[in-house]
Every structure is written in C-alpha cells, then in structure tokens.
Symmetry: C2
Subunit: 394 residues, 2 copies
C-alpha cells in the first residue's frame, strides 16, 4: 500500500542498504518507536522526523539542501497518521498542514540515535608505541595510491586510524608531494607557502630550516587549526644524522593519564600560549596542549617547545603547568615510544600533525645534502575523501 | 652596574617601551616579586623566568626561536643572585650551571600575569543590533586601504571589534576582492575554490548559487574551522530583491542568555551535526551552535539551517536542542537585530563569518543581473596582520 503516491523524495548521494525491516510501530507523546526485525528498538522524535523529511517541498532539488525550516512548524507537531508500508517505509501525515513524509528503512536504521547505535558508530584510533609501529607500520606504494582508488581508500583509512603511514617508491622529483596530496584534496597553505622545503637555509625563519636538532613537536601550534596531515617527502638524504623520530602523542597522553593524573589534568585544562616569531607574521594561539572531546578522550595534541610564548595564567597555575609540561616532554624522549627512521630518497612519511609528534636529530652537511619537501592537508579533507570513496568502495 | 657583560640578548621583533621601572625586588620560595614605581606588584615564578631567558644560548640567533628546554633544568631551580640594574633590568645568576639571564623592564611589565594585568589585556567585541550599526557601521574607502597601512590597520581593527565593515569605491573588476584580501594575507581555499561567484547557476551545488532566499547562517559550518572573514564584493546588482541581511550572532546569543537561559545552555553544550551534500565532497562536522571560551563568553556561532545533518544525540537531549535551535532562529528573524542593505556595484561587505550571520532575500533576474564575488581569510591571518602593523603604527 502506498499512502503517498504524490511524495517525491530527493535522493542524497548515499544509497542506504536495507539490512533490517521495521516490524512494529508505536506512537508516544513526543516520539514514535520502531521495533526492527532483529529486536532493536529505535525512538524517533516527531520534531526530528519532521525536520528530516526528504520530500521535494522540504529539500531543494537543485542543491539537495533543506529549504524547510523547523521553526516554521509548532513545537508540538505530531503525526495525524503513521504507518509502515509493505516495503518497510515509514509514511507519516502530519497534523500541521497535512504535510506528508516518507522515510526509507535503511536511512532510518542508519540514523537511529539509541545509545547502542551511537556507541557502534564510534571510531577508535589505533594507539601505538615503538613495538607495534615497527611491526605494523601501514606502508603503501606510490604508484598504487596514484592509480587505484581502492588502495587510496585503504591508505587514507590507515592515516585516519594510525596517524602515520609510509609511502614508498615516490619519484624524487620536486613537486611530487603535491600530486599525492591532491589525491585527497587541495593543500592547506600556510606562511611557509603551499609546499615547503626542509633544508638548511642561511635566513632561517624557523628552527626547521637550520641543521639543529628539533625536539618532538606538532607543526604550527601557533595557528588555531593546526594542519592535519603533514607530508614529508625525502628527495635527498646523504647528510650524517638527521634521523626522523615520530611519537604517537595519544600514547604519551595515555601514559600521562595513567601515571601522572594531576599533570594530565593540568595539560588538558590550563592553556599555553604559542607564538610565531617572524618578521612578517605574528601568529599567536592560546590552547591546552591536550584537547579532550566530549567523552574525555584526547582528540588533539598541540606542542612545540620552540614556539611557546610566555605562560599567561593566574600565578597559582604556573607551577602546575610547568610540572606537567616537563613530564610530558620527558616522556616523549623515551625510546620505547619512538618510531625512528633514517628517511631514504623516495620515502614519504605522512602523519596526523595533530596527534603524532615529530622530531629530527641534528645533521651535518659535510657528508652530503639533506632535502625534504612537505605540505599539509587538513583533517576535514581526509575525512571527506574517505566518505566519498566509501560511497563506491564501501 | 652591569652584572652580565657577557650576556647577549636576542632581540625579538618588538620594542618594549619602558613606562615603568622596578623599584623593589623580593625573593620568595618559588617566585620573585617586583614592585614597580607606580606601586603595582608582579610575581614571576623562577621556572617561568628561566624558561623565558632571552640570551643567545637559550634562543637561536638565526630563527629567534628557543633552543633551551625547561625540562633540562631541575623543577626547583632558583636564583643564586637576583639584582636590579640602574637602568631597571633584572639580572639573575641561576643556581643551576650558574646560567645568567637578563630581563628588560618593558618586557617584564608587558608579560606580568597578575590578575589585574591579565584583565587589562582582554579585548572585548563591540556587540551591535540594528540601531547601533545603522549609525556607526565602520566604513572605509578602497583606495585608502590599498595605499595606506595606517588605514589598513584601522580597518582591520574594525573587523576584529565589530565583525562587520563596509568598503566603498571598489572597482567592479572581477578579482579585485583578491587584491584587498591579500592586503591581509593569503586566501583560505575551500571546495568552492579560492574565489567564489555568488550568482544563480544551473548546476547549483549550494543554496547560495540559486535565486532562493537564504536564512541567516554562517558559511561552511561543515568545516572544523569555519572561515573567519568573509568578503562579498558586489559587481552587479540590478535584479529585484536579493537584499543582504546581517545579524550579530553575539547579540542573539546575549538575548538567548538573558531571556532563554535553558535554550542558551542547550545550544552551547549539545552538539549539532553539519553536513555538506555534494557529489565530490562530503564534509561533516559536529559542534555546538554556540561556542564558549574559558570565561564563558560566546566566541563563535555556527549555524546554517540548510547544512544540518540529522541530530545524533541521546534521545533525552533531542527535544531540548530543537526547542533551543528554533528559538535562536526565530530571534534572527526579528528586524530589530538586522542590518539590511541592498548592495550596490562597488560595495564590499566584509564580516566575521564565525560571529555575524548573513542572509539574502530571494531575487528575480527579470529586472537585471546579480553577481557577487567572494573569498575567505582566516581569523589567524587577520590577527597576525594587526600585530605586525601595530609594531609600526602602534
């Protein structure tokens, strides 16, 4: 039975598989409940359902964006009738303007907001230290990434979950880093340009452009949004020293939470100030070194010893933050947490700059040259590309 | 008396004026206290002072960045001696490695972190509604901004404080918006490109590119970092309708806090999901519509009815968030909050997209054409440019 022959749904870019069908329907005071064929129960509030009506009056056919506004119906809106069709669709006729809505069962199931369904959707990062990453560093070939969208998707999921991957066999042609970054999206430009060349420069405006050792850090903590993915493509590395060191900042944070809970609390609640120190730019940002999400999980690390400004806090907090910051930095120096690699020409490491700290040892140019080329792509772009690829490669 | 003839300070890019001199010095257990000639007292912790030593051993002369790391000295570090020089400098010899530090009185005063000093440094936005902005919209001439760095600084301070300025006399040549944006810095690229053309398009992938009315919104709430400044340059506007409407989101938030405190709490604690709906991109971000800073002030507004995804919250929160969201949107529709303008060819409005909501009425192309060109520049770039200009124009 089709109650709604006149309802024309505007399809989104997803197809929703129908893995389960609704078998029961109950109307409550402010929400209806669907019982599924596997016993799961989903509650959908009337306002939520009305807001998500996919019909051609509510959604613009051209942009596929909503034109309906939920503030144009009463708060108390409810169904006049609600029925399940034979093919599992939910049909509603509303008590306001007799508007008709039809919902696809795959869409309804996918957007269920029961505690159980919400828990299933959480993605957890793979947290690592030296042992794990030495055994299982996700590694991909340049040509495969460039030519095969399925490999591209696997690589990007590796980036999302591990925060660090190696790409091998990258032609040592300057600019190649841009080609691979563009497989994801456009590059995040910064004051260091679209691409940056990590080599010793006489007029260094950053510690990166000297031969000095760099302590473990994230890039551009001076910017409100730290760049997400950082690409470092090794073109030449014949100098002595200059080994790359990478540490999972989430692992250090975990260690802090377990063994130094007061310090963990200080780093996640007391902001530090980060300053860029240059002739033509003066970026500053104030944020905690550890950022927690609404569940209390660490979602971001922001740290670079050489880009800190003076702490600017009530006097009582100064000593607590120094104690915590020192403890964090001392942990990053422990080799048990460190992935250590002398990059070779043709290697490219790509890491989540908001999670994985990087460093390099000092190097000496007497033995040869050292030249890395790098760029940034933001986390939004990574996640968007994964979702678009998943429409096809699921 | 110069205790430290061998200390070579690395100058930053600032000059610190000496408006006050230290007249007294006391050493406490973990901090020293300076008494200034105007009676103010400043406390500086020993770790803080050691961390901020400006000497050539602690700071790289090349990059002007710190090479010293605070985790390499004991937590208990303290001065062996601390003295004030005749010209007001603080000289310290530390009990660790007999390191010597020298501090400039202008720098010390500027970085005092007493409650009083910290309070003085807070910048407050100028919050507006229709009356104020009609009387005092900051307005600048294109040629002045392009040629005079002092006017540039005034304009940028206007952007920072009001979140909305008008630029007049802008040549109606496509691309001019880029020239004026580049007076600040580089442009924030998005999936709409570096520049975007707001005109009706047959293949509209956004409501912006139709002739439809747009409700008050921020651009790209689907992105983790919403673009900061939005530039809209009117090249042609002969269509009927299409008036621009701008509302200070901070004013609406203030109204919510005062009159609808429960709704204010819901909007600042319960996240919404924002989805972009396009063939080649699938950006999503989850955040509260109102973001509060650590002092509880609203620091950002994120809202666009047509870019919301289904709410994904525990069932108990759904009704509360709908009630609050509806209330917010109803307030944005009240004309007492709205700046209303039919843009003319040669006008450019520039506004803080993370604060000021914008909208336009539907328009009809029978009477003529309508073409705006726009771009984004991030808040970091605005604030950096202001600081660099202030080095010269104070």
């Amino acid at each position: 039975m089709n109650n709604h022959p006149d309802v024309h749904e505007i399809a989104g870019y997803y197809r929703y598989d129908i893995n389960h069908l609704p078998v029961g329907l109950e109307l409550g005071e402010s929400a209806l409940r669907i019982v599924w064929d596997d016993g799961r129960r989903s509650e959908y509030h009337y306002l939520w359902l009305r807001d998500n009506c996919p019909c051609h009056e509510c959604i613009s056919e051209l942009s596929r964006e909503q034109v309906f506004e939920i503030c144009d119906v009463p708060l108390t809106i409810r169904p006049e009738t609600a029925t399940l069709t034979e093919d599992g669709r939910l049909d509603i006729v509303w008590d306001h303007e007799a508007h008709k809505s039809r919902y696809h069962p795959g869409w309804l199931r996918k957007h269920c907001y029961s505690d159980e369904a919400r828990e299933e959707r959480v993605l957890k990062p793979v947290i690592w230290e030296k042992g794990q990453i030495d055994r299982s560093l996700p590694t991909y070939g340049f040509a495969d990434i460039m030519e095969d969208d399925g490999v591209l998707l696997n690589w990007l999921r590796g980036q999302r979950d591990y925060g660090l991957c190696l790409v091998e066999g990258v032609p040592t042609l300057p600019g190649t880093v841009q080609a691979i970054a563009n497989r994801i999206s456009f590059i995040r430009e910064t004051n260091f340009g679209v691409l940056f060349d990590v080599q010793s420069k006489p007029d260094a405006n950053s510690a990166a452009y000297t031969t000095l050792r760099l302590p473990l850090h994230t890039d551009l903590p001076t910017r409100e949004l730290q760049p997400g993915l950082q690409f470092l493509h090794c073109l030449v590395n014949d100098a002595s020293g200059g080994e790359s060191i990478l540490v999972d900042g989430f692992r250090i944070a975990e260690e802090m939470r377990e063994h130094y809970p007061e310090d963990f609390a200080a780093l996640s609640t007391l902001p530090m100030d980060f300053y860029n120190k240059d002739r033509d730019t003066d970026y500053r940002f104030r944020a905690t070194a550890l950022k927690l999400d609404s569940e209390g999980n660490v979602s971001e690390v922001r740290i670079a010893n050489f880009l800190r400004g003076p702490l600017d806090l009530p006097g009582g907090d100064i000593a607590a933050l120094y104690k915590a910051y020192r403890q964090f930095m001392l942990l990053t120096r422990e080799s048990r947490f460190q992935y250590f690699r002398q990059l070779q020409a043709g290697d490219m490491i790509v890491f989540d700059n908001r999670r994985v700290l990087h460093a390099r040892n000092a190097f000496d140019l007497k033995a040869g040259d050292r030249h890395l080329q790098g760029c940034y792509v933001d986390r939004d772009e990574l996640l968007s590309r994964i979702r678009v690829l998943e429409r096809t490669y699921g």
